[in-house]
Structures are given as structure tokens and as C-alpha cells.
């Protein structure tokens, strides 16, 4: 048991938590913004995947990591806009449209990589590089904290800045104010002349961009290449974090971080002699228990006013 404690308190573990949590955080904030705008973004997975693929390809061919990252995020943003357009212009169900976009991303990325590189697996044959790491001067000398944060990727920093950013956006900006009003009561927003659709488009674009950043991190930060389907279900975990976090920025932050911590822990404990499939259930089981406890406590407190969720 004490060895587990040692692991958890080690700076290597904490650094791993930050890394593992990065895509969850960004994608979860993407999901949060969309949910609050009144359109569930099930397409997080596909947006991440497209961004990861585009980022690695563009960076590989242009030899510019920055350009790759920008293009990756841009493609995911467009997919966010596409989801909004399908919902708002064609009246499609957001969930099916999201599933459709995920399918589209899976097929199109594989096709792009294959037709450009003649490789069905991914872009590992292409040198595309990674986004820079960030080290704040002086921070390294701080014990533990220094070890944990130094050398983390730029995107990891952005992921952690995303929480205050989204909170600020929601509660301090006019845009966020309108977005929340629309998500909760579109008729009320429309009746005061807020351009509901435009705000929803913007919200979904932002949602896609955040998911795109998460995807770019996977192929240009975590590792330096794209692999078919490399998002591996992270978009859905992020979606779970959105709801586990009660649709509130800091709640979502904690939930996504919790997923990161649980997965990092499962990785650290993975060498113990327990069937691997069972070890890998740990994050999910923990979430389920946390969800139940959280709901039970909220119910006991009798807090009313749960924010409306997606409708079918």
C-alpha cells in the first residue's frame, strides 16, 4: 500500500497526470461550451482525430509545427461549424450528426494518410515534430512543483489555462452570457434580439477548436505522429467529464483532471499482478462511484436547478 502512496506522491506521477489529463481537459471544455450553447457535441472524437491528422500532415509537409497546429485546430473548428449547420440549418439530430461526423473523420483521415503517404497506419514515416515545451524561468527551482510542471508541453499549459478562460468567457463576457441564455432558454434569448444561431455557430466553432487543440496535442505533443483512430475513445471520456462536472467550468475541470489522474494511476499500477482488463476498469469504476456519491450529496442538499441537458 505504501508503494502506491509513494507512486501517487511522486513528481513523475503528477507530471504524468498533467500530460494524460491534457486532451481530456481540452476536449471536455469543448464539450462544455457546446452543451451550454444547447447543442450536444458528440463529435468531439472526430474533431480531435481530424485535428491530429491534419496537424501532423501539414507540419510534416510544411516543416512548420506552428502551421500544422493552426491547420489542425482550423479543421476541427470547421467540423464544429458543420455540426452546428447540420443542426441549425438542416434540423438534424445533434447526436446522429455527431456520430456521422465521427464516422466521416475516421474514414477521411485514414484516406488522407493513405493517399498521401501510401501508409495505412499513420504518419510515423513523416517527420512532423512536436509543439514546444514551456518552462517558466525560476519555476524549476521550486521543489516538486518545478519537477511537475517544467518541460510540459505548451498545449498542456493551454489546457490548464482553458478552465479560467472558459469560466471567464461564461461569466464575464457578453458572448458567454448570451451563450448560456441560449443553451437554457433559446426562446428567451431570441425574444430579446440575440442572434441565436450566430452565437450557436460561434459556440460550436469554439467547441471544435478546443477539441482540435486536444487532437493536435495527441499527434504533435504527446507523440510526434498521427496514427489511425489514435484518439481511442478519449472524446467520449471527455463527454462524460462534461456531465460529471455538472456543466460548470470548474466542475468539468475537476472531472477531467480526475479522469487523467485515474488513468495515470492505472498506468502506474499496471505492472502489479492483476488482470490488465480489470485494472483498466479503475478510472471508469471510480467515475461511476463518484457520480453516484456526487448525485446523492446534491440530492440530500436538495439543490434545485439542474441545467437542462440535451434533449432527444
Amino acid at each position: 500500500m505504501s508503494s502506491v502512496l509513494d507512486v501517487v506522491l511522486s513528481s513523475a506521477f503528477l507530471a504524468a497526470v498533467l500530460r494524460v489529463a491534457t486532451p481530456y481537459l481540452l476536449a471536455a471544455f469543448g464539450g462544455l461550451v457546446a452543451e451550454r450553447a444547447g447543442i450536444s457535441n458528440i463529435a468531439l472524437e472526430g474533431q480531435m482525430l481530424s485535428a491530429a491528422c491534419t496537424g501532423a500532415l501539414v507540419a510534416g509537409y510544411s516543416h512548420s509545427v506552428a502551421l500544422g497546429a493552426v491547420c489542425g485546430v482550423a479543421v476541427a473548428t470547421l467540423l464544429g461549424v458543420l455540426l452546428a449547420a447540420l443542426r441549425l440549418e438542416l434540423g438534424a439530430d445533434a447526436i446522429i450528426a455527431g456520430i456521422g461526423i465521427n464516422l466521416l473523420a475516421s474514414g477521411a483521415t485514414a484516406y488522407a494518410v493513405y493517399s498521401l503517404l501510401d501508409d495505412k497506419g499513420g504518419t510515423s514515416g513523416l517527420k512532423s515534430g512536436t509543439l514546444p515545451t514551456v518552462t517558466l524561468p525560476g519555476i524549476e527551482s521550486i521543489p516538486v512543483v518545478g519537477d511537475v510542471v517544467s518541460g510540459q508541453n505548451l498545449v498542456t499549459w493551454l489546457a490548464f489555462l482553458a478552465a479560467p478562460f472558459v469560466a471567464w468567457l461564461f461569466f464575464r463576457t457578453r458572448f458567454g452570457f448570451h451563450l448560456r441564455a441560449i443553451g437554457e432558454m433559446p426562446d428567451a434569448a431570441a425574444s430579446v434580439g440575440i442572434p441565436v444561431r450566430r452565437v450557436q455557430y460561434a459556440g460550436l466553432a469554439l467547441s471544435g477548436a478546443l477539441a482540435g487543440l486536444a487532437g493536435v496535442f495527441l499527434s504533435m505533443g504527446y507523440v510526434s505522429f498521427f496514427v489511425r483512430d489514435m484518439t481511442a475513445g478519449r472524446g467520449f471520456i471527455a463527454l462524460a467529464a462534461v456531465f460529471l462536472g455538472g456543466l460548470r467550468p470548474w466542475g468539468v475541470f475537476l472531472a477531467a483532471l480526475g479522469f487523467g489522474a485515474a488513468e495515470a494511476l492505472a498506468v502506474q499500477l499496471g505492472t502489479l499482478d492483476v488482470p490488465p482488463q480489470l485494472v483498466s476498469t479503475i478510472p471508469y469504476a471510480m467515475t461511476l462511484v463518484a457520480l453516484a456519491v456526487y448525485a446523492w450529496r446534491r440530492k440530500r442538499r436538495g439543490a434545485a436547478g439542474e441545467v437542462a441537458t440535451a434533449s432527444l
Binding site: G121, S124, L126, Y222, F225, V227, D229, G233, V267, T271
Partner: protein, 343 residues
């Protein structure tokens, strides 16, 4: 679709047509890619015609996919791999007695007792690999390297790591062999860290592969051996960061990697020459010497399994250890040592 191969050949009447049916996708950088390479070579050198069908990872599509592939009259030889498809081949071979079937990495049930192979599968050639022997050499080499402190920058470390994708017999066979080799070389079982990638995409989640490798290096592993397809690509990256070492798997990863820093971490690759075995089968078939109706089990002795002994290997590994590893390989080849198996 009919990717791979030249479909344009109009006057292909006398060429034998091979159809490679993959219950998964190409691009795994190991198993299926290796088979594909071998058959492409056969197409080029031996004058076959090759068509590839990918069925994807959705298992509900495999059985109908094989049925479709077999009942179309656009092939002479149907090649497929893995244990998962033995029953499909066992069903289809008797239905198409004029066609030939090559099954790699698993045998059909030639006895015909379990409802398949009603014709005793006399038109099926199976080849299986003793990957445990490769694993044995990997384990043996790994223990020698840490015991002799010959890995630069990792002299103080005693542990080694293995990162399989999932716990299934074919993969587990590598691991069992590795443990046996490690022990045979004098190592302690507890110094072998084994951690599976698992999750939704165990063979294509390089981010998780990297995280796991990083954790194993963090726990004091001098080298990590990924047996997890594309997830293993993450291991080479983490080895560069951790300044430690790796083994490749299935194909010569020193050759397939493009980044020099990553190449430098690869001590050797444990080969499972699926492609070579299929190429040999193609050669034998042209000479009518391929043994249909029986399973061919190949391993170190047949050079179907082995390790890469190139310049880089010789640079990194002292002569003494190289000799010891070669001796260990010889004992296995000669049969004086039997490597335990996961099967």
C-alpha cells in the same frame, strides 16, 4: 478495396491469383503489414497476382467477409491469418475444393472433428510461428544486458519492461517466452515488468503506449519491449526522452523508424517473419512442394523467428553477450531447450 497490387494486368490468365483477406486493417506496422510485404514480394519476384481485402476490426463483418471473398471467383489462393479466422477457413475450404487456402499464424483443425474441415482441409496450408522462441531470445538478451551493465546510461538498472497490447494467447506467447529467457539467463522474475496497453484501441494508441513506457522507465526499466503494434511507436519516443533502450518486434524496427534518435534506442528487433514464411510458401507452391493438408510450425530453426544482428546491434552489445545469445539460440534450435508456450 482492391488496394495493393496491379489490377491493370489484362493478360493475367496464367498467373496465379492470391487474395489476402485481412481481419483488421493494413498499417499495423507488424503482423499484417509483414504478410502483405511478403506477398507483394512474391508478386514481384515470382509472378503472382495479389489482391488485398481489409475487413476492418468490427468482428460482425468477418464471417460474411470471408464468405464473400471465398465465393468470388477472382482468386486461386486465399491467404488469411490469426486464430480468429481458423473456423471460417475450416468452413470454406471444403466448399471450394478447387481453391487453395493459406492460413498463417494459426492451424485449421485438420482432424475435422469439430465440425470444420469436412474434407480434412486437404487444400489448406497452415503455418504457425514459435514466437515464444523469439521472446525467449529477447528475454535472454535483456537479462544479459542488464546483468553485465552493458547498456550505456542504464548501468545501474536491473529491470526490464514488456508492453503487450492485450492479453491474448498469441501475444502472451511472446511474454511467456521472454520470462523464460530472462530466467534462463539468470534473472529474477520480479525484474520483468509487464504492462498491457488495453483500452479501446490497444494496438493503435501510441499516446497511451508512450505513457506506459514512460512509467516503466520511471520504475527503473533499462529497456522496454513493446509488443503492441502502433502503440509501440510511443515507446521509442519515450525511450529517447528517458535515454534508455528498446527492442523492436515483428519487423526490423531499426529500418522502419525514421528518426535517428529513436533508431538509436533499438538494440535489436525480435522478428516474426510472417512475410518471409508466405514468400517461401509461394515459392514452394510454384514447385508443387507446399504441404497442403498439414500445419507447418516454424521457429528459430527455420529462420521464421529470430533477432536482428546488424551493425547497430554489434555496436551496442558486447561480443560476449552476442555469443551467449547465439548459443542460446542454438540450444533452442537443436531442441535441447524447449521454450514454454502460452498455448
Amino acid at each position: 478495396g482492391g488496394s495493393g497490387g496491379d489490377d491493370s494486368g489484362a493478360e493475367s490468365s496464367d498467373k496465379l491469383r492470391i487474395k489476402l483477406v485481412i481481419n483488421g486493417g493494413l498499417g499495423d506496422k507488424s503482423f499484417f503489414d509483414s504478410a502483405h510485404e511478403g506477398l507483394k514480394k512474391a508478386e514481384k519476384d515470382l509472378g503472382y497476382e495479389l489482391k488485398v481485402v481489409e475487413l476492418g476490426s468490427d468482428r460482425t463483418k468477418w464471417e460474411p467477409g470471408f464468405e464473400d471473398a471465398a465465393s468470388a471467383d477472382d482468386y486461386d489462393i486465399l491467404a488469411a491469418g490469426t486464430f480468429e479466422v481458423t473456423d471460417y477457413i475450416g468452413e470454406l475450404a471444403p466448399q471450394f475444393p478447387d481453391k487453395k487456402f493459406w492460413l498463417f499464424d494459426a492451424p485449421v483443425d485438420y482432424s475435422g472433428k469439430n465440425g470444420t474441415c469436412s474434407n480434412k482441409c486437404e487444400n489448406v496450408y497452415s503455418v504457425t510461428f514459435k514466437q515464444n522462441e523469439g521472446g525467449y531470445l529477447a528475454g535472454f538478451l535483456a537479462e544479459k544486458l542488464v546483468a553485465e551493465k552493458s547498456l550505456k546510461g542504464a548501468e545501474s538498472l536491473k529491470k526490464v519492461g514488456v508492453m503487450p497490447g492485450v492479453k491474448i494467447p498469441v501475444i502472451e506467447d511472446f511474454v511467456v517466452g521472454f520470462r523464460a529467457g530472462f530466467k534462463a539467463a539468470g534473472g529474477k522474475n520480479s525484474d520483468v515488468l509487464v504492462q498491457y496497453v488495453g483500452g479501446d484501441k490497444p494496438f493503435s494508441d501510441p499516446a497511451k503506449g508512450k505513457e506506459i513506457s514512460t512509467a516503466m522507465y520511471g520504475q527503473g526499466a533499462a529497456l522496454v519491449w513493446p509488443v503492441a503494434g502502433l502503440s509501440g511507436l510511443g515507446t521509442f519516443e519515450s525511450a529517447v526522452t528517458a535515454k534508455r533502450y528498446t527492442f523492436g518486434v515483428d519487423s526490423d524496427q531499426y529500418q522502419t523508424l525514421t528518426d535517428q534518435a529513436q533508431k538509436d534506442t533499438v538494440v535489436t528487433s525480435i522478428l516474426k517473419n510472417v512475410g518471409t514464411a508466405l514468400y517461401k510458401a509461394a515459392q514452394a507452391d510454384q514447385k508443387d512442394s507446399l504441404k497442403y493438408g498439414a500445419v507447418d510450425t516454424v521457429g528459430l530453426a527455420e529462420d521464421a523467428v529470430g533477432y536482428v544482428n546488424d551493425d547497430h546491434f554489434q555496436q551496442l552489445v558486447p561480443e560476449k553477450i552476442r555469443t551467449e545469445v547465439q548459443e542460446a539460440a542454438d540450444t533452442v534450435k537443436s531442441g535441447s531447450v524447449t521454450v514454454p508456450s502460452a498455448f
